[in-house]
Amino acid sequence: MPKWWTRYRRRIKLRAKRQYLLARAIRRRRVLTPVMDRTSGIAPDAILGFVVQRNEAVRLPWFLDYYRKLGVDHFLFVDNDSDDGSREFLTRQPDVSLWTTSASYKDARFGLDWLNWLLLRHGAGHWCLTVDPDEILVYPHSDVRPLRALTDWLDSSAIRSFPAMLLDMYPRGAVTDQPYSPGQNPLEIASWFDPANYMIRKNGEFGNLWIQGGPRARAFFADEPEKSPALNKIPLVRWSRHYAYVSSTHMLLPRSLNLVYDESGGERASGILLHTKFLSTFVEKSAEELDRGQHYADSREYRAYHAALQDQPDFWCPESARYEGWRQLEHLGLISRGNWA
């Protein structure tokens, strides 16, 4: 088969896939009921945050605070049938637009249809950050430069998507040892991570890198690592209405948005999402999620967690590193400044 033909076929196939994803998103817009729509106040150059959440009342105060300080101008939340007061909390926030739905998270491709719809409707032309409530974005210079500095630089470099892989953070000792309280910086508890335990493969079809590893692969998936969760993410994108997330924020279409890495030896700029899933709230959460069975691949991940949680897992090992800041991550080679000096 000539190369151009393979490429052409792939292009046609991926375009069909993208259109299918967008059609799904558009069709499912009706399940989203607006609770508080403040989108008319979004400035033309605003940086937007897109979040799907369910019963995250404990985490939300610190989460919103962190991203506001970073420079997210407006948050668009989808609330999936919460009953812990998080919906009411979000309604009270001046910079949050909120939709709610009781539809199935799983049927919406793990919330992605909802996100794709909101991104299509409100994200076009904006820098859009799509994160979970337990993900903390850190990028080079994030201690001194706001998100706007990064997006301006990306704009001037004609870069449309910015990668930030997931870095699983964990506490020292059992996950349940230190209770997390609202408003607290989760990194005070989950401050450890694996510095160099990551496997990278290239996904030829979508062009993205497939990164696995970290403490979850080490502790839960040692025997079948190919089933361990993906860690590669592209959460920050200058959105256009043709774009669609394919599988969580791991990959996007069109394919060119996934090409965030350099293949000829140089380093491109990249950040990280500190994943603070493993807090005291996790035990309760994993039991609930397992009951609902709404997660990826038959909630395989949650079943593994639940089994392991019975005997109080401790991810910490003498090789774990304590988080110190983005310079440490850059030194370890987890992120890079690229040429953003």
């Binding site: 001037s156 510095p195 590893g213 692969a217 025997d223 965030v260």
Partner: protein
């Protein structure tokens, strides 16, 4: 006057006459900020001629006029529509400069700045500096024939080719047309009397030189020529100043650095101290929202002479990081293709192939003797043998073979990159062989090979002979495949080879090579090879020809013969 009076200390450089600075300011966006910068220049005593791109909306323009209302010495030049890379930018500069020289006839120096240029030092310091260098034109001006000024772009061809297509909007046409002209060898003639020079468009000329350029009797001819030059704002004044100057200082007073993509570097609040120390007069580009910088500058400088060493270093390291990257790093934004790695691994490491089999006591003896982390068989099929029997390796590397085998190259490179000490591990045909090519082509690897060592554990295993024979066939096939790689021309590793028979006769050689020093007395002994000859005979009689083990009948004869010719 006495002789002593001549030698009395004088201030650095004479100040012959007052300097009257004029600034030509080119703005195309963010007018409020430009107005703020214009005020800084104007309050410092400079006359400012502002050119605003005609594509800026009238309302913004009116706003700017209002903001600068009542300021003496602010002039607005006629507006033109400017396009990057075209003559319109030069024409705008000419207009503004003419206006400036006509309106403020006592101007002695003219500086070009953009609306995003921030004066780092007070205007009077700049004036004093210019006064100490009377008659000098500060304009970077590099002969276009001496290539290397532009980042990845055209040099002399900027002058000799034609560029009818927009670089930004019609990139493909632009590139193709350049290629076509090169192939057809079409060249424009450079007018007599000028030598093409390139340089930063941010310059500071004496009014005399600038006036000479603007009133040159051949200006119409030169303008016509430069109309078709690519990015003339980086060559027009740089070339013509050479024609009229009394003395050129070929450097820019404006700190303006370009990255690997030819895009100007942007400064942020965290660069404040560095900019403060540099002693540069003007900086660009400043991030428009870097309020900390706008508040801090202009500031008195402690150094007289501009010195951007620290900033140059910062930018050079960024360019190196973007173009070359850190060797041996594989991550989310650096995933080099095979052979484009610029360093496959981050540090030297040692692989001991077959040594653990030939010297059974070696793994226990070695750790104290070398300055390295000595692992066991890292790539063993059913185990990852980290040093000291650890379950989890350096950097949190999982001790699970399945995890390792998902990305063995990543496993090895991470291990080498995350550890501070050199790494050393055992290897044999018993292990996973997927990294053989990668390691053999890596200059960081030191490989000590004892061929045929796989036979030693089999000899002493006590397994049924059928099983031994089957295992021997597998190990030998793998070893021959590895040796084929080691005999190829692509090998970059530092390879030392012995065969088992050689080791039997001279047991110290591999160990001495490994330690690189005299062997201590307690060095490990070679395994008992006395049964090897009948063992090999038995294998041969069972249909498996042993190869690469050396000659156990005449050990002295064993030599490293080429693969295909080697019978034993």
């Amino acid at each position: 006057m006495t002789r002593a009076a001549h030698l009395s200390p004088v201030p650095p450089g004479p100040i012959p006459g007052p300097v009257r600075l004029g600034v030509v300011m080119l703005c195309h966006e963010n007018l409020p900020l430009a107005a703020r910068m214009a005020r800084i220049w104007q309050q410092g005593g400079a006359t400012v001629a502002i050119h605003v791109d005609a594509s800026v909306p009238e309302a913004d323009m009116a706003e700017m006029r209002r903001a600068l209302e009542g300021c003496d010495g602010i002039l607005f030049a006629p507006r033109r529509r400017c396009e990057w890379g075209h003559f319109s930018l030069v024409a705008a500069t000419q207009d503004a400069a003419e206006l400036l020289l006509a309106s403020a006839s006592d101007t002695t120096h003219v500086l070009t700045a953009s609306g995003a240029c921030l004066p780092l030092r007070p205007v009077h310091e700049l004036a004093a500096y210019l006064a100490r260098h009377p008659g000098r034109d500060f304009i970077e001006s590099v002969n276009a024939l001496d290539v290397g000024w532009a980042v990845g772009g055209l040099d002399m061809e900027r002058f000799t080719l034609r560029f009818p297509f927009s670089f930004r909007r019609q990139r493909q046409l632009f590139d193709r047309y350049v290629k076509l002209q090169r192939r057809l060898k079409i060249k424009r003639k450079v007018p007599q009397g000028i030598t093409p020079h390139l340089g930063s468009q941010w310059w500071c000329l004496t009014a005399r030189t600038l006036a000479a350029i603007l009133t040159d009797p051949r200006r119409a001819e030169f303008d016509r020529f430069f109309h078709r030059v690519w990015i003339p704002d980086e060559s027009y004044f740089q070339t013509l100043a050479r024609r009229h100057t009394l003395g050129i200082e070929s450097r820019s007073l404006t700190l303006s650095k370009f990255d690997a993509q030819g895009k100007p570097y942007v400064f942020y609040d965290d660069h404040r101290d560095m900019l403060m120390q540099s002693g540069c007069f003007v900086a660009r580009k400043i991030w428009p929202r870097a309020e900390g910088l706008y508040a801090a500058f202009p500031a008195q400088s402690r150094t007289e002479e501009p010195d951007s060493y620290l900033i140059d270093q910062l930018i050079d390291s960024a360019v190196a990081r973007r173009n070359l990257g850190r060797p041996g790093l594989y991550m989310q934004s650096r995933f080099p293709r095979k052979d484009a790695e610029n360093g496959k691994t981050a540090a030297p490491y040692t692989v001991l192939y077959g040594l653990a089999e030939a010297y059974p006591g070696l793994p226990d003896w070695l750790p104290g003797k070398v300055d390295a982390d000595v692992h066991g068989h890292l790539f063993a099929e059913h185990e990852v043998e980290f040093s000291a029997g650890r379950r989890i390796g350096p950097g949190g590397l999982a001790g699970s073979p399945a995890v390792r085998d998902l990305d063995p190259q990543g496993f090895l490179t991470s291990l080498i990159r995350v550890t501070k000490r050199p790494q050393m591990f055992q290897f044999s045909p018993r292990d996973r062989q997927s990294l053989n090519w990668f390691m053999a082509t890596d200059p960081n690897m030191r490989l000590l090979v004892i061929t045929g060592a796989w036979a030693v554990p089999l000899l002493h295993s006590g397994m049924p002979f059928d099983d031994v024979r089957r295992a021997a066939a597998i190990f030998q096939r793998r070893e021959l495949a590895f040796l084929e790689i080691l005999d190829s021309v692509w090998v970059k590793a530092d390879v030392h080879r012995w065969n088992l028979a050689q080791v039997g006769t001279d047991p110290k050689a591999p160990l001495a090579a490994l330690l690189g020093a005299d062997l201590p007395k307690d060095h490990p002994q070679v395994a008992d090879l006395s049964g090897m000859r009948p063992f090999l005979d038995r294998l041969r009689n069972a249909g498996l020809r042993p190869r690469k083990l050396g000659d156990f009948r005449h050990p002295q004869r064993t030599a490293r013969a080429p693969l295909l010719k080697d019978a034993s």
